[in-house]
Amino acid sequence: MEQFFQQLTNGLAVGSIYALIALGYTMVYGVLKLINFAHSDMFTLGAYLGLTLLTSLALTDHIGPLWGTVVLALMVMGLVAMVGALLDRVAYRPLRESPRLSAVVSALGASIFLQNTVMLIYGARYRVYPHDILPRVALDVFGLQIPLVRILILCASLTMMAMLYIFIQRTRIGTAIRAAAIDQGAARLMGIDVNRVILMVFLVGPALGGAAGLMVGLYYGQINFTMGWGYGLKAFTAAILGGIGNIPGAMLGGVLLGVVESLGAAYLSFAWKDAIAFCVLILILIVRPTGLLGERVAEKV
C-alpha cells in the first residue's frame, strides 16, 4: 500500500508537468485548430533560458532561493512568451489563410529549427543546473518520502493552472479567446480583434511551457536539447486524452496520464510503460472520441 501511494505521488509530479505543457497545445488548437509542434521546444527553451539566467544573474544568491526562483520563473516566462509571439508572427501568421496542412508543416519546421538552434547555441551535451539552488529535503508524510521540491512543483503548477482558468473564464480578453475559439468569423463580426487574441494565446501558452521547462531543470537538474520531444509527445497525448481544445481537459489529461503511467509501470512492466499509457489513451478514445471533457464544445478554448 505504501508503494501504491509513493507511486501515486511520483505520477502526480510528472503529470502536473505534462498538464502545464498540454495547456499550450490545447489553447493553440482551440483557437487556430493547429497542432503547434514547436510547443515542445518552448519547453526546452524555458529550461535553457532558466539555466542561463540562473548562472549569469545569480538571483538566488541576492534575494534568497524562494524569491529568486519566483523572479527567475517570471523572467523565463516573459522571454519564452516573446519567442512564442515571434514564432506566431514568423511561422504561422503568414499562413493564416492557407490550408491547415501548410501550417502543420510550418510548425514541424519551426520545431526542427528551434531544436537545432538550441543545440548550436548551447551545445549537444547534457547541461546541468547548479545543485544547491533549492533545498534538497524530503518530507516524511505518513511514512512516504516526498522531496520538498516536488511539492513545490505541484503547487506551482496548480497555481498557474488556476490562474489560467480564471484568466480565461473571468476576464475580457479571456472571453474574447473563448469567443474566437468557438467561431473566429463571428468573433470578428462582434468587433473582436482575432489577431490580438491569437497573439495572446501565443504569449500565454509558451509562457506556461517555458515555466514547465524551468521546473524540470530545477528539479531534475539535467537538460538536453532533445528533452522537449518526450515531454511534448506526452503532453500532446494528455491534451487529446482530456479533449483537445479544452483547458480543464488538458489539466485532467496531464495528471491522469502521469498517474496511469507510473501505476501501470509499477504494477505491470516498466519496459511497457509507454505502451500502457497509449493503450489507455486508445481505450478512452474508443469510448469517448472527443476525449474525457471534449464534448462541451461551447467552452472550447
Binding site: A124, Y126, Q145, Y220, N224, A265, K273
Partner: protein, 373 residues
Amino acid sequence: MKRVILLCLALLLVQGTAFAADSIKIGLMGPITGPWASEGAEMKQVVQLLAEELNQKGGLLGKKVEVVTQDDGGDPRTAALAAQRLATQGVVAVIGTYGSAVTEATQNIYGEAKIIQIANGSTAIRLSEKGLKYFFRTCPRDDEQAKVAAQAIQKMGSKRIAILHDNSTYAKGLADETRGLLEAAKAGEIVFFDALTPKEQDYTTVLTKMKSVQPDIVFFTGYYGEAGLLLKQAKQMNWKVTFMGGDATNNPDIVKTAGKDAAAGFYFVSAPLPKDLPSDEARNFLDTFKKKYGNPPNSIYAALAGDGFRVITQAIAETKSTDPAKLADYLHKDLKDFPGLTGKISFNEKGDRVGEVYRVYRVNDEGQFILQP
C-alpha cells in the same frame, strides 16, 4: 561569356578530380548531431588530428590522407543515407560508428560497396556474427563486458541483484548476457529485471519499485544521462544501494548530473579511460590533443575511433594497397599486437578485437573515476 564560365567550371572540375586522386580518402561516420553529438564531435576531433599528424609525416603511399565526415545523427535511418553518400565518395574505409543499432543499419551498404568498416563503439554481439568480410571493430563486444560485469558483481558478494536496461539494442544485450552469466554461475538471485524509457527525466517510479524488492546492487546497462538521474533521484529518496553501470555510463557528465555526493560509490565497467591508457602512444597522443583542443578527450570511444584510423592506415602502409580485400586480409591475419592508443590490437576472423579490454571503475568522493585493481 557563358561559354567562358562553362569552360572555367569544366577546368575546375577536371582539376578537382585530379586533386582528389592524389589523396586517400578515409570516411568517418559519427553522430555529429543528435543525442550523442558530444561523442561524435570528439570522434571527429581525434580522427582529424591523427590525419593531420600523418600528413605532416608525409601521408600514405606518397599521398595525403583526407578524412570525409558524414553525420549519422545517432539514428539508423540517417546513418543509412550517410553510408550511401560515403560509398559514392570513393572512401577506402569508414571509421564508425558509436551506437550498435546505427552501425547495423549501415553494415550491408558498406559490405556491398566493398568498403572496410571499423566501428568504434558498437558493442552488440550480433554485428560480427554475420560473416561480413569487411566489418571490424576496435571496441570489445558485450559478452566480454558482461563477463567482467558478472565477475565484479560476484566479487562484491551481492546476493540480490537488480538489472535495469533501456530497451536499446546495446543495453538489452548487455543486460541479457549478464543475467545469463549470473544465473549460470548461481551467483545470486536476480530480483528485478526490466527497462526504463530513456530521455525521461523522472525515474522515481522505477526506483520506488526496485527499492521495494531490496536488492544489494543495481546494474544499469543504459547510458550516462539516465544513470546520472537514477543516482540523483535514489539519493533524494534516501535509498542507499550500490549502483553499477555498463560502459555507456562512462562519461564525466554523470557526476555533473548526479552531483558528487550522489555519484560517489558508483561502479562502472568500461574500457580504460583516456587518462588511464598505459602506452606511450596514448600519452603522446593525449598531449597533442590537449594542446590542440584545450582539454583532454573525455570519451574512450573517440580514442577507439582513433585506433580504427590508425589500424587502417597501418594496413594501407603495410600492404601498399587500397584494395579492400587485401586490407581486410591483412587486418584479419597479419596485424598482430599493433600498439594502439587503447592497448594492443589484433583482430580475429570475425573482425572482433582480441584480448581483454574492460576494467572496473569506481567514482570517488571528488567525482573522479578511479581504476579498480
